[in-house]
Symmetry: C2
Subunit: 287 residues, 2 copies
């Protein structure tokens, strides 16, 4: 199958590597507005060639859109406008807006709204690697709008990546990722800034940071280019999640202030459960 990859970064590049390795892709054409990334992707053998969008659409059986979600929205529509044959799959982290935009499109049934729950804090084609999606969950939203034979191709592609598939409504998806992904990113960014600000007054405070702090701010390394549109597109659900998080922090502060140690202990014991669930979670993905 001839595969087009729009955006050859961490996600697009890792998809390309696995699809070639598994024999799904016989030819891979890349498109990237960043010329440096495009050349690097050819040089690394991630794609066979880079081309214009037009050529890529014309010569591909399936096109994967792996660019920031604000551009992905227009890109998916633009590809559906240009071709009634090519299958389009986008892999962005928000799904509500894009699904709504193309809901009544004549070629809607050629579009697969996907979200692989995988990634690292790195970006660009050099960060791509084989096996990024192995045993990771991939959400497909609004499956009933997809032509059965199109969905079949999509599922075959995801199985080549080693992904586990879950179907979900687009709004439901966006709400869930607001809590378990986007909120974590904001928490990391905000914690990073809080400590940088105090460091200005109290030199070398970061010298005392242990591995716990590093783990908690790991996501503060994430790309602002990628995350600005994600947060913006999911602001409706994210503001609710932020409110709930701020409320929890206020609870901790109030208990500390009032020396309510029993309640503080109970709150931390409750939090311990999230790790128990996460550790048992991998077995719950088969569906």
């Amino acid at each position: 199958m001839r595969v087009g990859i729009i955006g050859i970064g961490l996600i697009g590049g890792s998809v390309a590597i696995d699809l070639r390795k598994e024999g799904f892709a016989t030819q891979i054409i890349g498109v990237d507005s960043n010329q440096e990334h495009a050349s690097k992707a050819v040089q690394l053998g991630i794609v066979d060639e880079v081309s214009s969008l037009e050529v890529c659409i014309e010569r591909s059986d399936i096109v994967i859109v792996a660019i920031p979600v604000d551009h992905a929205r227009d890109m998916v529509k633009s590809i559906l406008d240009r071709s009634d044959k090519v299958i389009v799959m986008d892999v962005g982290s928000t799904k509500g807006g894009i699904c709504e935009l193309v809901r009544d499109h004549a070629n809607r049934s050629n579009y697969i709204a996907a979200h692989p729950i995988a990634g690292t804090e790195y970006s660009g084609p050099e960060s791509a690697f084989a096996g990024l999606f192995k045993d990771k969950l991939n959400i497909i939203c609004e499956k009933d709008f997809i032509l059965p034979e199109v969905l079949e191709v999509g599922l075959k592609l995801l199985s080549c990546l080693g992904s586990k598939v879950k179907f979900m409504g687009a709004e439901e998806h966006d709400k869930h990722v607001a809590y378990v992904s986007h909120l974590s990113h904001i928490s990391s960014f905000a914690l990073g800034i809080t400590v940088l600000d105090i460091e200005q007054d109290e030199k070398n405070i970061l010298d005392l940071a242990g591995s716990g702090f590093s783990s908690t701010v790991r996501l503060a390394k994430s790309s602002p280019d990628m995350w600005t549109p994600i947060l913006q597109h999911n602001s409706k659900h994210l503001i609710g999640a932020l409110d709930a998080f701020i409320d929890q922090l206020h609870d901790f502060k109030t208990l500390l202030k009032n020396e309510k140690t029993t309640e503080l202990h109970a709150l931390m014991t409750k939090a311990n459960k999230v790790q128990e669930i996460l550790e048992g979670k991998t077995t719950n993905h088969e569906n």
Copy 2:
């Protein structure tokens, strides 16, 4: 040298393992109020024997206090009350209260207020391992109160652990760790609870959690028994840190609400710097 270990958990146990390995300790006597931990520590060969506190003090040249900070405070004083010979080192995460309590004690100069910046989210003697402190920073507070030959023993002990040593005032220490350690813990606990609460309404939301979320809530696994007194003892500095963190989260929320994407991008770009500093940080510890 005969070493006493009060509290044979992750920290006390790991100290014991390294001190024996490096030949610093010729005999190790453990004390633990948890009988199961005490037996386990003997069984694992971490300590040679367990005894009462009295016997341990009498037969040790140096006693390491590695119990929750609320008990550590009274324990250090109690040991100084009982002996004018034994060297006492505590390894708790807060230092202001304990240093203040013993400041005018007749045997103050036998006491080393230490804080190794190392640990994992696990606890108990089974979690102890060799090399936990290697290349990690160890803070010693109020060094000028320590007898030079006592300090020398303490520094030799820390060098056997492979620690790097930094001297600091007790209040300064507590403020710094409020930001780079204690705040991270509260952030993880609070994020964990926020997601557990929404999971009650929206089943299986945790199915969508990726490695980013896991990393951000890793510390939510930490022991409430250990962390309740730490947070309580450092509440003065921690409340300031929490206020600053909540302010940052409010900033993110306001920018999202008002669709200020340029400012949102700038804020995340600023946060990226914390990772750059952390990655370059290891070279700054030599002092």
